[in-house]
Amino acid sequence: MLKLKRMMYISGSFSKAVFVLLFLAVQGKVSAQEVSEQEVSEQDTLRTFGPRIGIDLVPFFYYFTEPKIIGAELSVDFEIYKNLYPVFELGYSSTSVSEETFDYESAGNYARAGIDYNLLKLKDRSEHHIMTVGFRYGISVFKHSSENILIYSDYWGDYISEPHENSLRGHWIELVGGIKVEVVSNLYMGWLLRYKFLLNQNMDPVMIPAHIPGYGNGVDTSTFGFSYSIFYMIPLIKK
């Protein structure tokens, strides 16, 4: 006898994604208008360069979703050559879920490195808004575990398995695109849309991780991600 477990659900991650996308749509439209409507200043001011340090606000939103995901992410980028921005991102993420036949936990750190390329042509050197496309390589070092694993058996008696735990490393590649707008001097806000490709889904032969920190659900070999961040650029160099 089969039980049809129908999940015509809009999943937790999907509802998060829709919420963030709608938010970004409004924000992005406003930001694009702001960029396009700004008058190009005749004054050719000094352009400031320096490391831009950002904090992603999306992980704080996930704290209030079900299942709850606790996390934080920092990023740093620096324009080393015209329109080229090497980017490094570091973060932590953890979640725990209790299902009918098992409990699941996953927690760990992750890092991404890559390059953004600025597509926005601004004539005024005093403006620092950027619209970028780029890529990332991501690695996650994490531990996931399942406890209270129950396998029903009417005839032989229910079977309770030993807990399963494994320390893992996940690797993935991301294609990214987004904008950063300088809202006041050296202070930026921006969003980034990520499309991620998992490189080693079968990292655990017993169970595919349901939560890979920095990537998402390991069941999906490709998935979307979002960042909405606030940045501060440390003005080290003026040219």
Binding site: M1, L2, K3, L4, K5, R6, M7, M8, Y9, I10, S11, S13, F14, A17, V18, L21, L24, A25, G28, K29, A32, E99, E100, T101, F102, Y104, S146, I149, L150, I151, Y152, S153, D154, Y155, W156, G157, Y159, S161, E162, H164, L193, P205, V206, M207, I208, A210, N217, V219, D220, F224
Partner: protein
């Protein structure tokens, strides 16, 4: 233009996030045995008029697990509590005891369906002579048995 791109992305997300998954009520690993006979020195299907099958459960009374007539195969769950599973087969007036030794390891079926046991069959034993010989055809028994799976042949 941006709004069109966003609508396109949302459409992809909706498509990719709606899924239908079918899970068994339990995640028993079912072994499929097929009755065979030798015909012109070649193995051929064999059908028995009636089959009753009892599992031998330590510390618990044996009870009827399978009853079918006529049939040329049976599908039964393996015992996850031991490294062997024992059955009593009754075909007509004849009986035999079938003993399967196996190893097992845990595996995740899916996040929605939970865990199952993957059994590896090591050997088949039988006692009284009703079963002439036996052969393992597929030693891997998992919780996702398909229609045409056959794990062992029993020659009568």
């Amino acid at each position: 233009m941006l709004s069109r791109i966003l609508i396109f992305i949302i459409s992809i997300l909706i498509t990719s996030c709606i899924s239908v998954e079918i899970c068994d009520d339990d995640n028993n690993s079912m072994m499929v045995a097929k009755f065979m006979t030798m015909k012109d020195e070649m193995p051929a299907d064999s059908t028995v008029a009636s089959l009753s099958l009892y599992g031998i459960r330590e510390g618990r009374p044996d009870s009827l697990l399978y009853n079918q007539d006529p049939t040329n195969n049976f599908k039964v769950p393996l015992d996850p509590h031991h490294d062997f599973t024992r059955f009593v087969l009754q075909i007509g007036e004849q009986t035999d005891t079938l003993e399967l030794t196996h190893r097992q390891e845990l595996y995740g079926i899916s996040y929605d369906c939970g865990f199952g046991n993957l059994f590896t069959l090591d050997s088949i034993g039988y006692r009284t002579g009703m079963i002439k010989s036996a052969e393992i055809k597929n030693d891997m028994v998992d919780a996702e048995t398909k229609e045409d799976d056959v794990h062992i042949w029993l020659f009568l």
